[in-house]
Symmetry: C2
Subunit: 334 residues, 2 copies
Amino acid sequence: MLQAKSCRFAAFCRVTGNFFIYITISIMSLICVGSMAYDAIETPFGKREKIVGGAAVYAAYAASNFVKPINLVGIIGNDFEEPEIKSLEAKGASFEGVERIKDKKSFFWSGRYHMDMNTRDTLVTDLNVLADFNPVIPKSYQNSEFLMLGNLHPATQISVIKQMNTRPHLIALDTMNYWISSAMEDLKVVLKMVDVLMINDEEARQLSGDYSLVKAARKIMDMGPKFLIIKKGEHGALLFHGNNVFFAPALPLEEVFDPTGAGDTFAGGFMGHIARTKDIAFENMKTAIIVGSAMASFCVEKFGPERLKEISKPEIDDRIRQFIQLVNFDISLV
Amino acid sequence: MLQAKSCRFAAFCRVTGNFFIYITISIMSLICVGSMAYDAIETPFGKREKIVGGAAVYAAYAASNFVKPINLVGIIGNDFEEPEIKSLEAKGASFEGVERIKDKKSFFWSGRYHMDMNTRDTLVTDLNVLADFNPVIPKSYQNSEFLMLGNLHPATQISVIKQMNTRPHLIALDTMNYWISSAMEDLKVVLKMVDVLMINDEEARQLSGDYSLVKAARKIMDMGPKFLIIKKGEHGALLFHGNNVFFAPALPLEEVFDPTGAGDTFAGGFMGHIARTKDIAFENMKTAIIVGSAMASFCVEKFGPERLKEISKPEIDDRIRQFIQLVNFDISLV
């Protein structure tokens, strides 16, 4: 597996014939830690009884358009089908860090969305293999310079960070209301260990105790992360850093077909862009937010990760152009 | 009162001393039709028992930063205080089209906001003088090239348009759920007479019968207006025109102190910019949306129009710069 941080090659220039061009290609890799699952999804537009899902799966599909390899860390059961593994591997995902449990099933989640697509009822949550998840970071992943920690128990997230011999350039973390309520002490610890926190608006309010997102952001950044991304679903996403704030809209779509995985896809697109550009400055994070939003806008067009499996680079470029059009304006001051 | 559409003057150039510079200054005026009221407002941050309000008042204060005169059309009672009239006149508002009723009180509205500021309870609505409102457009207003029709009965809005000897360059219309439910036939007529419709997301869904705002926008533009602005409060605003769409965020604020009048302030800022620039192309409307959003972001900082009364041009410039920062990003395609 291609794991070197950078390689150098020389190309003879056939046009001029008389000199060499040296190009440095840096190959960055990204670790994605998170759930790998099967979901049953019901939306106003239809239903799927069993479709692959989980935070790491969505993030991997999104990030694979920008960076390879995607070093997956997760746990799957005996029902996780070989074609799904092959499909991810074909996109550049490594399964070396994915534990396979022969006598148990994969994590299963079932949910139903209502007309507004902003609320959903969870019908079933079968942890299955996820109940025993103690992620082990393989030696071959140790050179990865970017780490995306999907929504898991904060103690599990801490354990992953501690396994890295060299601290990654950038560590991003997702969490949820459940851990804010039930594992706040561990969450406080892991927040001090990461660079970027990605949560939704309700989670930001719950974590900070402040209704105003501007005030909430300040309090949360005081807890550790230098960058805070607040996801607002169909209302876009905010990036906070110090006194700076950036806003990216969600693309207005004819139809949101299935929002499952949109947040994880956003995270994958964001980290994919950061890993590709190796630039963790605020200005580049703004661009990463747009890339993440573009990827999320694909995700919701079909069930589960179906749309993510098929998108092409020209489609991504076209979608990003739509984002530029969506927010671009010229102004002269009054 | 300055009412000429344009005037031309010659200035002797003292620097070179040997030629004249001709400068054409076009003076555009804007008619604002709408309620002029007193409100009682209660928010989580405090309350005001009596504060000036009404769509035309908010729109006039916002627009006055960009265009003069603001030709007000409204109706007020014996309680409308002289200092409020003087304050608006000092900003360039004309009261020639404002009817004053000696034996009745001004329109009165009282409401209470909850913590999320997106929902409010209306406690009192006393129509008072507004029950007899039959706006008359004074002769001196006939040259006005821009017309903002605040939220009133659609039949009243039709009557105003019909009184204009020359059709204004641009007519913008506000309406609300009440008229969509109770006066749909008149609303359909007036929609065919206007260029820009400004409504909120719930009203767009109600008017079109479509949940998707993209689909709703298409249906509503088929009803008449070539431009549709869908206001989403703290989640920003969308501008639709043909197949084009533009999004402007709301500025993330530490505190939304009082959202009363924010939509009317947005409309006033939007029309003020359009009237100042005399450019009704989609590209310039995008800018107008940003200007409207900037004005609305001031409005919510204090009770009623208090903040709008005191803002300066440098403050507006600074706020618009914040909007540029908020959405500005550089991107190279993948």
